[in-house]
Structure formats: C-alpha cells, structure tokens
Amino acid sequence: MENGPKEKILILGLNHRTAPVEVRECFALKNVSEHPLAILKRELPEAEEVLFLSTCNRVEFILVSKTSDQTLKSLKEILVRTTGLEVARFEDHLYFYENRDAVRHLFRVASGLDSLVLGEPQILGQVKEAYREAVEYRTTGPILNRLLHKTFSVAKRVRTETGIGSHAVSVSYAAVELAKKIFGSLKGRTALLVGAGEMAELAAQHLISAGVSRMLVANRTLSRAIELAERFRGKAYGLEELPECLLETDIVITSTGAPGYVITRDMVKPLLRKRRLRPLFFIDIAVPRDVEPAVNELENIYVFDIDDLKQVVEENLGRRKQEALRAEKIVEEEVLKFERWLRELAVYPTIKALREKAEAIRRRELEKTLGRLDLSPEEKEAIETLTESLIQKLLHDPISYLKSGYHREGREAIVTVRRIFNLDQEEPGSSPTFEELSGAEEATEIPKKWH
C-alpha cells in the first residue's frame, strides 16, 4: 500500500573532534549572503524537512528524506559551492548518521553529551534556536517537529535526572561554588580583584552574577585598575592600599605577575580583629602564587590556589563522566521510544491500531451489557452484529481519509488520526500538542517563549 521508500532521518555533520577549526568555520556558512536554510530549501528538493545547527564547535545538517544517497550527494555539492572547499578537503571530517543513530546523535548533542565540555548547557539553547529558524523558514514537517520536541524533553530529563550539569568544570566557576560553600549566599558580599588576567576577570564576572554587589580592584598600575574598576562598576586602588581593601572584602581573587607573595600572613594577621573575624576567601590563580600558604592557617581564612581549584575541576569532571553514563541510558531509552513512534507512523499500523482500539472498546462494553441481560443466543447474535457494523461504519471515514490523505498530505494525515484517536496511549501534556505538531503555522506559538 505504501508505495516508494520510507522517509529516513539523516544527519550529516562535523564537530570539534572530527574537524579542525579551518573547516568548521567554513561550514558555519557565515559568509553566504543568504540564510543556509533558504539555500537548502531551494537547492535540495530531495529533503522534505531540514534543520541547520551551527555552533562554534559543530555544524549539523538534520534532514528527512526518502532518498538518502541522492540527498547526501546533492548536499555535498551544495556544500562545495557554498563553502568554497573541495570535497576532498572536508569529506574525511564529516560524519553521517541514519535513523536510529541520527536520533541518538541529536539527543546526545542536545543533552551536552557530545560537547567539548561534557554536560555544558548552552547547546540546548542553540538547538532550540536552530529549530526556531527552521520553523521560520518552514523547513520542518511532522517528523522533525516531533523529533525536536522530543529532543528538548530528553535534554531536560537528562538535566533533571542526572547530575551532569551540577558540578563546576571550569576553574573560575569552581571558585564561585567554593565561595558559596563558605558564605552561603553571595548576595551583598564584596569581592576584591588583585591584578588582572582573563581568568580572574571571568571569575569576577561569575561572582557578580552569583550576587556579589561590590567589586574592588587593586593593581600595580593604577590606570589599569581604574579601567577594570569601571568595567565592574567598582573602586580602584593601588597595590600599597591592599590592607585597607582587605578590611572591606569577603572574597579576593589574585592573579598578579609578581614574583613573590603579594599577600602574606604578616599582612593579614593584624586585620583579623579589625575584620571582626569575618571569613575571608582567597582565590589565588597566579603562578607563582600571590598568597602565602600560611595565610590558610589563620582563623576563618581560606586560601585556594590554582592547583587546588584544578583538582576540584578534575574531580568534578570525573563526577560528570559518571553522570554521563546514566544520561546515556536515558538517551537510549528515549531513542527506542522515538523509533517505535516512527515505525508506527505508517498507514497500515495506524489502521490496525484504530481497528484494535475500536474492537477492544466494543468487546468491553458488550460484555458489560450482555452480562446484565438475559438474552437468547439469537438476540445476542443480533447485538454482536449491530455493534460490529456500528464500528465499521464509524471507522470507514477515518480509514479512507488515512488511505487517500496519505498520498495528499503524507504523514500529516497519519499524525492527525493517531492523535485524534489517541493511538499512542500518551498521557496528556507528555508530548507536543496537536498545534505544535501540525506544521509551521501553528508552531510559531512556541518560539515566542525563546525570545
């Protein structure tokens, strides 16, 4: 009945592991005057649905097509034209997934399992953005709509059911986590930046977003201190004013290029009483170190140097890897579910499911009624016939709609019938609504939330 080959989900892509940055940047298709989706829509008619995902670490083409070989060939030709690279330059860097593997790949990507930093959360937003663009260019259809919504819920499930995102894996973020373990909330705290450097500024940025309300900046050259202080809306000091600065702060990030210790035990000790023994947390990311190790021995003072922080990061990475194993299991589970949905998304299984459901209802209700009535075999026979012809007449129209509709509207018709009769036995709210599934027009509802 279903003539022709079935649609397949295809993914062609490259990422930080398979391709060097020179190739990745060409594939981002930033230099093309048109949006990549517009080009693909026009020049790749073989693909029924298209999604284009591009981040600094990966480029993925997610397609639905009946002719995978032909589609790939055309896609590569388009890529040669748009990137200006020869096939030989990029072919070895590409990976290709089909159907189940493609679904798994997308689930893993969105969950951060395929990321450079395991479990990083930004990728999910980037996938959502890619989907929003595809909806805008109307290149998605029933399969990608369903696949992407499933992807979002899988990523969410991974994030809530595993601890993959809950352990800091950068030095600057680990420092913030530690500060929280000492001070509880960082709201209203003061931080001091001694010296400047990329990592120190990043840590300062993290501290501010965690609630630190005041930034002080101390630097050997005052002009640089002023410049930095302006960026963080703080106050600038010279290095010789350090003791006064230390009186007011809770968290100190040091990263000077000084050859010796900038903050010594002898400098901090007299401050303890004046500080009323408030805790003070030193994050020393300089090499050689800026804070004398003996400072850590003082009361309510805590010093973490770069090695301590790196060790924290290392341990957290190990924990994330552990959690990733659990995440892979969730992904595998969801891949199977999606595959089942895809398999069922054909005319015959749908008709069969429809008839089975009707038959089950008929039998159940019949048993209830016949059990109560005392009827002769002939009368029972008559009721049997009546109910059978009832459901047959009732199902006639949906079934003929399925058969004819499949040729006109493709899988849209199947999705509609399956949803109306709830053939996938889903709880309400667990899957995209009818509007979300039934095409680009209605799907614009969702992207609004992402802006």
């Binding site: 509880g184 023994l277 309510n300 341990e315």
Partner: protein, 276 residues
Amino acid sequence: MIEEFFFKLAFILYLISTVGFFIYFYSLKPEALKGARLVLLGGFFCHTLNIVLRLKILKAPPVASFHESSSFLAWAVVGVYFFFVYRGPKVYTLGTFLLPLVLLLMIASAISPSEITPLPPVLQSLWLPIHAIISLFSYAFFLTAAVAGFMYLLQERQVKHKHLGGIFRRLPPLESLDRINELSLKYGFPLLTLGIITGALWAEKAWGTYWSWDPKETWSLILWFIYAALLHERLIVGWRGRRAAMMALLGFFVWIISFFVVNLFLPGLHSYGKWS
C-alpha cells in the same frame, strides 16, 4: 498505660526518622528528607500526647523526675529542630546530626524509673514547671548550637584541608552553620538566665534562700558563664565560626556534667535525678 504507649510510639517514630535522615545524608534524595521530617513530626505529635496525658495525671507539667525531664528535653530539641526548619537558614543535614542526640535522651528517659510519684510538698509550686520548662528549653537550644558547632568544625576541616568529597558536599555552607549557632545562643542564653532566676526565686520560697551552692546550681552557673562569654565575644569582638563552634561544644560538655553527672551521682537539692 496509654501515656506510656505514646512514649514508645514516639520513640519508634524518632528511630525511623533517624534512619530516614541517614538515608538522606547518604543519598541526598529530597524524598528521604521529606519522609524523615514527616515521621519526625508524627513522633513529635505522639510525644506531645504523652506529655499532655502525663500532665493530666500529675495535675502538673511532667518535668520533675529524671525520666520526665530528659523526655521533655528530647521533645524540646525536636521542637527546636522544627523551629529552625521553619525560621533558620537551610541546613538540610541538621537532622542527621541532631536526631541521634534525641534518641540518646529518649533512651536515658526510658531506662530511668517512670512511675508517677507524688511530689514532696516542698516541690509543689507553680515555680517548678516554670523554672524547669524554661531551663529545659534553653538546654534544647544549646544542644542544637553544639550540634551545629560540631558540623561547622567538620566542614571547616574539609575546606581547610581541601577534602572536597562527600562530606563537604553534604554539609551546608559554613555561614549557615554559624548562623544556627548564633541564633541558638540568642534564644538559649536569655532562657537559661531566666531559668536560673526563676530557680532562685523558687528556692527562696521553698527553703528561704536564693542560692545554696548545691552542685546543680554551681554547674548551671558555670554553664551560664560560658554562654555569657560566648555571647559577649560574639557581640563585642565579633567572634564567629571556629571559636564560636568550639565554645558551643565546650558548653555541651559542661552541660553533660550538669545534667547527667550532677543529677545522677551527686547529692543535692535537685533530687529529681535520683533513681528511686
């Protein structure tokens, strides 16, 4: 007797709740914490019934014998726990450390004689329940302060030595523990002061003298001085963290002497400690 039944039920529920708190500590599953707290609340309810029923029989609050006062103290500690759940900083693992103490108090109460004996005439006064209840509540706060202090020292050790493993992740921020210590002190110290004053007033009524230096009174005074010093240093000098935690622990050891050793082994006016 029905009131004994509720005591036993409370004990069993406390025990189950303790297990729940340990499971939470190990697994960090929020459901475990919720369950443990719910069971604890059930135990607290039964314990309250036990105290109320005993009060009806005695026609006075049950705080006279050692059995009664340690049971009452356990009840008060659970009450203080819920007070901090509701009002204090979020310290999810406090129950894990506090409940074993509650259990010990319950055991101490269970193994001491529990018959209801009529009070000697000298003790029959409204002052008794006022003095005893206030004192016992101050103890409940100090016990909580000591537990928070212990947790503080444990957590500080992890931070100072950079052992950032399981214990570090399970214990709350240092600041929260110090805050519990501070709040306990702020509520406990006025109560202890009031407890000592009402005790003195009652002593004057009963024996004609405010203060007679019996061992209980002496040790209570030592206890008072420790917490007075801690409060003073906290407010004036700004003591906090490590030192405050250590003082709270010191107070705990002195309290053990004043509550167990003095009551049970030293003769004095506070006869409620006698086993017979």
